[in-house]
Amino acid sequence: MNVSQAFKMAAKSILANKMRSLLTMLGIIIGVAAVIALVGVGQGTTKQVTDQVESLGTNLLTVSITGRGSKTTLDYKEAEDITSTEDIEFAAPYNQQNATVKNGSESTSVSVVGSTADYLDVKDYSVAEGRFVAQIDLDYYQKIAVLGSTTATDLFGTEDAVGKTFLINGVRYKVVGVLATKGSSLTGSNDEIVIIPITTSERLFKSKGVKSINVQVADADKMDTVMTELETALSKKFRGDTNSYRVFNQQDLLDSFSSISDTLSLALGGVAAISLLVGGIGIMNIMLVSVTERTREIGIRKAIGAKKKDILTQFLIEAIALSGLGGVLGVGIGLGTAQLLQKFADMTVVVSIPIMGLAFGFSVFIGVVFGLFPANKASSLRPIEALRFE
């Protein structure tokens, strides 16, 4: 008896007991569907986080200056000196405070960023109207501002904001440009922002010095070199006071997020894999019952010439067919669930072909493992006793 014949027999036997077959497969169906949907959710979360971090810009280093006081402040000129090496493409020293901005009766609280012209490039903004902050604004302590798209609408509605004036903490500023919409990232909305020259902001908030520098490195391979250079320069500047500055690599952030979400995926996958295992035990149970029930059938088959091997193949293939079919249905339901989650629960779900293959393969494997015991039991029945069984 060949394998295709055994598959035909298995199909017949499964179709003859549709309800029972379905219930037998239920464990595997749920298991496979759970693996696909849950791992999909896990990977979707990872992707979402990664995308957001990457939307901050690529090859980014962030220097934050935590020290205050005469010895450990860094003004923007010094910051630019430190960062003017050829491996650094753009560097934008900035400080950031929340402030109330007001235009007539319209008022809102936004983050006010004092920075230089490079901020536009480092943060990957683009100017929709007017112009961005320029070096000359810094030199002359100009009271000009560039608005984020949301802030512009908040303050001026649909009117053209460029050329108009508004108040930041009671001081009048002139709008010279409006940024294009960028959307939100991990750090919140990118469009609720007011950007002013860093020199002006030092005066406005009465706070001397740069709080952070965003550095964009020209080449991803140079990240570590640039990081070391920056650390050396800062250490020299602050006379070895390493507590008053820190240099972050954006990749570190990304890596720690990935490792969190990888663990999440693994845990979800593990739970689902356990349910697959339980599903396999369900198949074994039903197959064992089925062997007892079909003792007479086995006896007849053996009497007319089925060998031990034939019966073993028949029952094993039946178990594999059951679990495989369950696997296929599970893949379908898992994909459907992923789609539904994406549509109605507003989650990013990434279904990957390897995970689908793995879940299906595992379900078939479970069919083999848990089918062996019942199949062996069936094939070891002695024909006379099996024939006598009522």
């Binding site: 060949n2 007849i300 007319i304 060998k307 024939l387």
Partner: protein, 243 residues
Amino acid sequence: MESLQEPLIRIETLSKLYKMGGETVHALNDISLCVDHGDFIAIIGPSGSGKSTLMNVIGCLDAPSSGKYWLDGEEVSRLRESRLAEIRNRKIGFIFQGFNLLNKLSALENVELPLIYRGVPAKQRKEQAIEALAKVGLEERLRHKPSELSGGQQQRVAIARALAGNPPILLADEPTGALDTRTGAEVMQLMKDLNGQGHTIVLITHDIAISQQARRVVRIQDGQISEEGGERRERQSSLQNGG
């Protein structure tokens, strides 16, 4: 009727012992028996006489405790299980009292079953199965399930299944036991016809009337057999009837 060629079945001093609760039961005790090609032999005995054990041994479903058994020229009493399965498949066509058809399969599929285990390719298998069903007059009922057939038809499907592989021996265990008198007679007629076509038949029964339709009658009692006294007369009369 004495043939020079090797008999189809040759059993020599064969015994079968069972241990039951510490007591040894001789289900078969030093039995010797020969069945020639083309024979129609009835083995008759009351229940508990050992006739089921004898049928199991002849049918290669059970191994004897001692003695020798040649089936179609091959010593089979000491063969392994898988080899026995092959011999059952090739040499013996079983006809059971309870038909023993698979209820989920159609008549055709039931008849095909022994051929599947023999590894006959699908097309040839189907031809052979249809041919066997035609022999028992059921070529119109190929797609019917056993539950859609009458008892007599079911037994004829079972006979077709036994015939399909064209085995040298048909081994029938109370083939009329589950049938009423009239269909039983039809089945017996079919068996006689098959014997007339050259099939060797071993029939096991407890019914004297049935056994007398065979050419040879062997009586079994307490595990020992004796050839019936009127055996020669039976043989001659059946020859006359058959002729």
